[in-house]
């Protein structure tokens, strides 16, 4: 077999799978734009002219941004702690990886058991007499952001950790022994070097949060709709595929508008950092 033919045969299975994916993508955009064979933005007009849909879009972006922020604030110190831990690091890794691989349904359900009216927190509160009646801890934004942050935190920690493990410990020690205060070495050494990992983490968490369905539905209920849960409703209850396709395209465009610039920044940063290392 000649070399080009051999390469073609080797790529065939994966190319078919990716081709099938792209076929769906084209059909998605097509079915949201074509009405009786003509180009028509009616579905998008209908979405953007409805105040409740615009509010839902805002809630989706806000929830995803809040979730990403919480994950960053909690994930960065955790990654730092694990990367610099001198004891049994594999055990700490297990505490991160194992929950990450358990299905999000199970983890979100766990929060239902904790936050529900007869759940852990309300049982404690009523038993101790701190609250006379169960508090409403879920079916609101608090429950959704808490659940999403919990489900997505491992992505942030793993992204930052995989970069931080590469940063030699003695780089910080060198900076400190040359008289840099801990805060100064953190700002000038650790933070810039771990930035590619932070950006990967932000990308992943933001993407997963904007497109989430299971966690917002279980912890937010049907009242607090987000783009993902609205798409789910359109498909499962109203069978309105063109409208779902238009909503999915809106979701895709808003997600990529946030994520692609971050990706480009990350590539640029990674190149700069590796150049700096070589020089």
């Amino acid at each position: 077999m000649s070399r080009p033919l051999r390469i073609a045969v080797l790529l065939l299975p994966s190319a078919i799978l990716m081709g099938v994916f792209l076929f769906g993508l084209v059909r998605l955009i097509g079915s949201s734009l074509l009405i009786e064979g003509r180009l028509d933005f009616a579905y998008y007009d209908a979405i953007l002219s409805r105040a409740d849909y615009v509010a839902m879009l805002g809630r989706t972006l806000r929830t995803a941004a809040m979730t990403t922020f919480v994950c960053l604030v909690l994930g960065f110190p955790t990654a730092y702690f694990v990367a610099r831990y001198r004891g049994n690091r594999n055990f700490l890794l297990l505490l991160i990886i194992f929950p990450w691989l358990v299905s999000i349904v199970v983890r979100s359900y766990g929060w239902v058991v904790i936050l529900g009216p007869r759940g852990l927190i309300n049982s404690l509160l009523t038993w101790s007499g701190l609250a006379a009646r169960p508090l409403k801890l879920m079916y609101n934004d608090f429950g959704v952001i808490l659940g999403l942050a919990h489900v997505l935190l491992p992505f942030m920690i793993i992204a930052i950790l995989s970069v931080m493990m590469q940063i030699p410990r003695n780089l910080e020690e060198a900076s400190m022994s040359l008289g840099g205060r801990p805060g100064y070495s953190f700002r000038t050494v650790l933070l810039p070097l771990s930035l590619p990992g932070v950006l990967t983490g932000i990308t992943l968490v933001y993407l997963m949060a904007t497109g989430a369905i299971v966690t917002p539905l279980l912890l937010g209920g049907l009242g607090n709709t987000m783009l993902g849960t609205e798409i789910f409703q359109e498909v499962m209850h109203f069978f309105d595929y063109p409208k779902a396709a238009a909503l999915a395209t809106v979701l895709l465009v808003t997600a990529l508008a946030v994520v692609l610039p971050i990706q480009i920044l990350e590539r640029w940063l990674a190149r700069r950092l590796s150049d700096g290392g070589a020089a």
Binding site: F21, G24, F98, L101, I231
Partner: protein, 258 residues
């Protein structure tokens, strides 16, 4: 100092809901509550006595098994072309294989409806297999390509120059060199596929259902503790897979960069 407190709190917080679900599955009451009311295995008995739940478990396992094998084989072939044949646009092709990762899941769900309805495979098992292969390819590709880059092609040349035929070289030299990558890829895609819910819930139908999607719709509709028992079984299963992964390649694989 505050770093340490945040980190310890996070590391305790991550497994918390999973522990709570497992504990709550041992309740004797007919409704879900925590702390549990009485100790009993009745919900496990109900789960294992239910033909419906067991059938759905079987579907999920078979789906994950086929999906993992197909995407591992497809990734292996692609990685071979990219690394060993040093093909042009290899990095571009790799980026293409990873694209499903930068799509939000709800959007992928609708994209897959469009794909499967176009093929006439909506609500079928074959349709689910196809979709799960696409979803797991990025996870399957990475460990294989890393193993292939580490393996030394000089060993294959040595085998060939000693007279081994290409297939014999492949079976006796090339394949063993990337075996850890292949095993990782199989296990990792199996877990991803077995646990997948957000995309799959758009594609199930009256004739095909997966375990996580069934759990999801039960949680939406009822508060029966049987869901906790099924979830505990899923947790047990995932622990088993993580244990094997840790034995085969070590848990630090997940935080290594290639």
């Amino acid at each position: 100092m505050i770093t340490r407190y945040i980190a310890i709190a996070v590391l305790l917080f991550l497994p918390l809901p999973i522990v709570i679900v497992v504990l709550s599955s041992f309740t004797a009451a007919g409704y879900l509550s925590f702390p549990i009311k009485g100790l009993s295995l009745r919900w496990y008995a109900e789960f294992l006595g239910s033909a419906d739940w067991l059938r759905v478990l079987g579907v999920s396992a078979l789906l994950a098994l086929i999906g993992a094998c197909v995407s591992t084989a497809a990734s292996f072939a692609a990685a071979w072309a990219v690394v060993r044949h040093n093909m042009r646009f290899g990095t571009t092709y790799e980026t293409l294989l990873l694209t499903p990762l930068i799509f939000p899941h709800a959007a992928i769900g609708v994209i897959m409806i469009m794909t499967l309805s176009g093929l006439g495979w909506l609500g079928t098992f074959s349709g689910l297999v196809l979709v799960h292969c696409i979803l797991t390819i990025p996870y399957a590709y990475r460990p294989i390509v890393a193993a292939l880059r580490k393996a030394d092609p000089a060993l294959e040349e040595a085998a060939q120059s000693l007279g081994a035929r290409p297939w014999r070289t492949f079976w006796l030299v090339s394949l063993p060199a990337v075996r850890p990558g292949l095993v990782t890829s199989l296990l990792f895609s199996f877990i991803i596929s077995f646990d997948e819910v957000t995309v799959t819930l758009f594609l199930v139908g009256p004739f095909v259902m997966t375990l996580p999607v069934q759990v999801f719709s039960e949680v939406l509709e009822s508060a029966s503790p049987i869901i906790a028992a099924v979830s505990a079984a899923l947790v047990l299963f995932t622990s088993l897979m993580v244990f094997i992964l840790d034995r085969v390649i070590g848990i630090q694989f997940f935080v290594e960069r290639d």
